[in-house]
């Protein structure tokens, strides 16, 4: 018994050390981002290069905001995220509910269709859509994000199906006896019980639309474009030389909302992912 315990303790220490090393390696690119964002441009090219900046250049963070109209793109990103995330979460929850509760003959086949949409490369649908809509002069429409949301997220539909399946049928039956309609049963009884699923779905939807590059670049003019597009194009001076330091400061701003949401909700998020994935 004691040998097993000692061995277990040794193994735990070894794993701990390995993980600390991995975390250090994982942090390097992030440290690089922060350090670069605080250097002057000429300091970046100085030989021999120093690891940390001589003096932190906080102005980079101001310039990241003013050099492009950051506020405008931020608002655009927020609008599109809401426009996408609300229907995406609702449509996925509805679909997950349908598949878990109302199994009819064609449910199985339709569920396979949901899963098989994972295999469709994004460009195979987005490029023709762009060509047809551009020709029909139907461009620069934010409404597209709403329709995109309706098409749901296959993984999240799967997740919601799992979560709804764990709720006993008796919950709804008693409500139905009392004469509650479909939607009242869904919103007042079922929906509050899948909060974890809701958190996972919202984080996913937020992350997806916040990161989406192809759609805004194809469908929206600069006036309605998003942060993802601006960040991809990066910051440059008049001669089109890329400004690494200010670009990194911009990326800090850009990723901050995701970082905050992730760290605030990570316990329930990870728990939800683990619970949903179990019966894979």
């Amino acid at each position: 018994m004691t040998t097993i315990q000692t061995r277990e303790r040794w193994s735990a220490s070894l794993r701990f050390v390995a993980l600390v090393l991995i975390v250090i390696v994982f942090f390097l690119p992030l440290v690089s981002m922060l350090v670069t964002s605080l250097k002057r441009m000429d300091e970046l090219y100085r030989v021999p290069a120093r690891v940390f900046p001589e003096a932190a250049v906080w102005e980079n963070y101001g310039l990241a905001w003013t050099l492009v109209n950051f506020g405008k793109y931020l608002i655009n990103s927020i609008i599109l995220t809401i426009l996408y995330a609300v229907p995406a979460v609702m449509s996925s929850a509805f679909a997950g509910y349908a598949f878990s509760r109302f199994q009819v003959r064609e449910s199985r086949a339709l569920f396979l269709v949901v899963l098989s949409t994972l295999m469709i490369p994004v460009m195979v649908t987005m490029m023709p859509l762009y060509m047809v809509l551009a020709r029909a002069q139907f461009v620069n429409q934010r409404g597209l994000w709403f329709v995109w949301g309706l098409s749901g997220i296959p993984f999240i539909i799967f997740l919601f199906r799992q979560f709804f399946s764990t709720i006993p049928a008796s919950f709804e039956e008693s409500a139905r006896m009392d004469g509650a309609g479909r939607f009242r049963i869904f919103f007042s009884i079922m929906f509050p019980l899948v909060q974890t699923g809701l958190i996972v779905a919202s984080i996913f939807a937020f992350q997806w639309s916040w990161s989406e590059f192809l759609m805004p670049v194809l469908f929206l003019s600069d006036e309605k474009s998003t942060l993802a597009v601006k960040i991809a194009m990066s910051y440059a001076d008049q001669k089109e030389n890329v400004l690494y330091n200010i670009g990194m400061a911009g990326i800090v701003y850009y990723t901050l909302p995701l970082v905050i949401v992730y760290f605030a909700l990570q316990k329930r998020f990870v728990a939800g992912l683990l619970a949903g994935g179990l019966k894979g």
């Binding site: 193994s11 290069a49 295999m119 047809v132 309706l150 089109e240």
Partner: protein, 315 residues
Amino acid sequence: MEGIRRIGASPLERHKRTSFYIFLAPWLIGFVLLEVVPIIWGFQISLTNRTSFPVAIKYVGLKNYLTLFQDADILGSYWVSFVYTILNTLIGVVTGFIFALLLDRQLPGRGFFRTILYFPYMIPLVAVGWIFRIFLERDTGFLNIVLVNLHIIPSGIPYMQQSPMGSILMLSFWQAGWSMIIFLGALSTVPRELYEVATIDGAGYGRRVRHIMLPLISPFIFFQLVMSFIYAMQAFIQPYILNPRPIRGNWVMLNPPPAETFFVMSRAYYIITSQHKFAYGLAMLWVLFAVVLVLTILFVKFGGFWVYTEAEERK
């Protein structure tokens, strides 16, 4: 109508079917408008000579597809995507599995490690691309600065120039958190008693992993392989940003990446948006779509033979 009445004979069944379609309706609308219809449009356009100027469009049959297979650049892109997909899948799945193994059992700071290792997966790809570009740059890159200051290397290494593919593959390692989460879920389904029994029988760690853990989580490994394959085939923006040539501001997306990393999606984007060959680009996308479809079906149908299932055991 006839069919519906026959199937849904009982009122209960009919009520069920109505409910099913009411709740599925939003998804169905989105699916038809954003997937089915554009896919059909895309195939139709790929059979024409359409460019960005919609004049004198005519049907050319499979001509675009036939030209595609004689175009050395495009065949090169398929090859490059194929190589990247294999390497990316291997790196992602193996890294995720090792992380999950390290985190599976009790450990101080387990939650912290899990949070940190998953974290890079949350960062948008465009940001990750730029973070790595600046991390790997020869003169100004943080990695070289640290290594030179620690006297590990005498002078900066031009990582992106030496191996554009290698530098893009670093992202697969950094973003392995997703695969780690799937494997952590998988490992938690393996009953602890099985390990204990095996340990008492004298099986070492390697044998427990090989004979108990791997067979039991094989469905998850399989799922990971399929998903990772599909996603890697779609890689598109990474080679534009992690371009070994100097990048100039607004022209990031106009600079074609080097041949070594000019993935199918990146080239299709370039052909459509920069060269304005709409139909040709779509034909290229359709070939990839067909390949993904066929490979996934083959994979799911015949690749599953090594996946352990309870049902097989009972036979």
